[in-house]
Amino acid sequence: MKEKKIAKSELTSFLDSLISEYKVFAPVKRDGFVAFQEIHSGSEALLDYANSKKPPKEIFLPQSEVLFTYRLGGEGLGIEEPSFEDEPMVIFGIRPCDARSLVILDNIFNSQEYKDVYYTNKREKTLVIAIGCNQPSSTCFCASLGGGPFSPEGSDLILIDIDEEYVVQPVTDKGERLVKKHSQFREVKPRGLSSMRKVTQKAEALIKSKVETGEVKKKLDRMFDDPFWDWLHEKCLGCAVCTYLCPTCHCFDIADEATDRGGRRVRIWDTCAFPLFTLEASGVNPRPTNKERMRQRVMHKFKHFVDNYNVAACVGCGRCIKECPVNLDIRAVLNSILNR
């Protein structure tokens, strides 16, 4: 599809026109960090940022989500589903790694046999507009996982910053239609395209972190009983920072919350790092210590997910690396797996 451009000075008006039609999520600064939130004016969107603290997965898989409410006392169960009448949405300014994470999550929530209506309903109504990463962080290793600072996968449209303007690459028909519809998008001159190539090459060269994840998978295939796991977890606190801040982690719990004559069933993020995750009512726990839980996290992301969906459940965004309270760096873990 053909590239276009949009002048930075026109971005706000473009966002404003999106806001008139869509619920628009964009990065904003909140409590000292960057978060994806609904904006009501184009000028609210933050353009100069590395990435959000929490991944935008929460737009589709919120940390807490009501599955249904119920009232006791009537006929039957008295269940009421949520409306599912979400407005059409736009995520603007998502990073290419996070856009890819949505495609990875689709494997789970939009599977053949059981469609997760809560997720797919929002997902299908959302346009994804990414902004490429001219300045990847030292913790970014997207290129090791099949992505890259300008990877189009998962986006409908991707913007590449070439100083005064963005080159706009439509990725899907949806993206193309959006470009056609809005007057802010104009023809891009060959000079613009060549600056784009310069920018992307420069950024790609900045990604120094590399892990041979394909080899990791081959190693993991034979590593379940490896003594490696005996010490890997030793400094892990067993908290949920890495999994809750991960754009591809999607495990959840379901719980009921009762009030007087009614209540609700909610689903909540959950994590393999917690003992409760697999603790059975009988007291049996197949993953009783940090060792098994850490192994599950690594195996799930880099082996089981690859077995089942042919893609690792990691996009190399680096959030878990930046935020781990004890600097347990997943890249170091993967590299030591390679050395086994």
């Binding site: 807490s64 009030t259 007087d260 004559r261 609700r264």
Partner: protein, 145 residues
């Protein structure tokens, strides 16, 4: 407890009373026919030291407008020192709740002996009026988000 209407609002107070003194005091108030407002729901516990802060906070979360914790006077504890230990715990909790901005007058502590039926009735009357003056509980009430 969350579903009642606001107009015609009556405060709801949860009273955790120790089995040996305060509950007996409440009983005596009944036997002695001392009048007090009917807003209080009594929960009998073995000792004031049995009261975990969680019980107090959970009461406020689930819609109690006030909480009273009451046990034997110092020196009278059936288990000798339960109320002394509880006193330290409550001192910290009481300060912490006030510090965080939970209105003074939501959570009350009192010593009531088995002989103080009249005092119990007066205490409940006072607390009910104090809580009524504050209006419905706000801070910790769990609202659907």
């Amino acid at each position: 407890m969350q579903d009642e209407k606001v107009d015609g609002w009556e405060p709801k107070i949860i009273a955790f009373l120790c089995n040996w003194c305060s509950y007996a005091g409440a009983d005596l108030a009944g036997v002695g026919r001392f009048q007090y407002p009917p807003n209080t729901r009594i929960i009998r516990v073995p000792c004031s030291s049995r009261i975990s802060p969680l019980l107090i906070l959970k009461s406020l979360q689930r819609g109690a407008d006030g909480v009273l914790v009451s046990g034997c006077h110092p020196g009278d504890c059936h288990y000798l020192s339960g109320n002394y230990v509880a006193r330290r715990k409550f001192a910290i909790l009481n300060n912490l709740l006030e510090y965080l901005g939970i209105e003074k007058g939501r959570v009350h502590f009192a010593w009531v002996s088995a002989a103080e039926g009249k005092r119990f009735a007066e205490l409940i009357t006072e607390i009910t009026e104090e809580v009524r003056a504050l209006g419905p509980a706000k801070e910790l009430v769990k609202k659907p988000d």
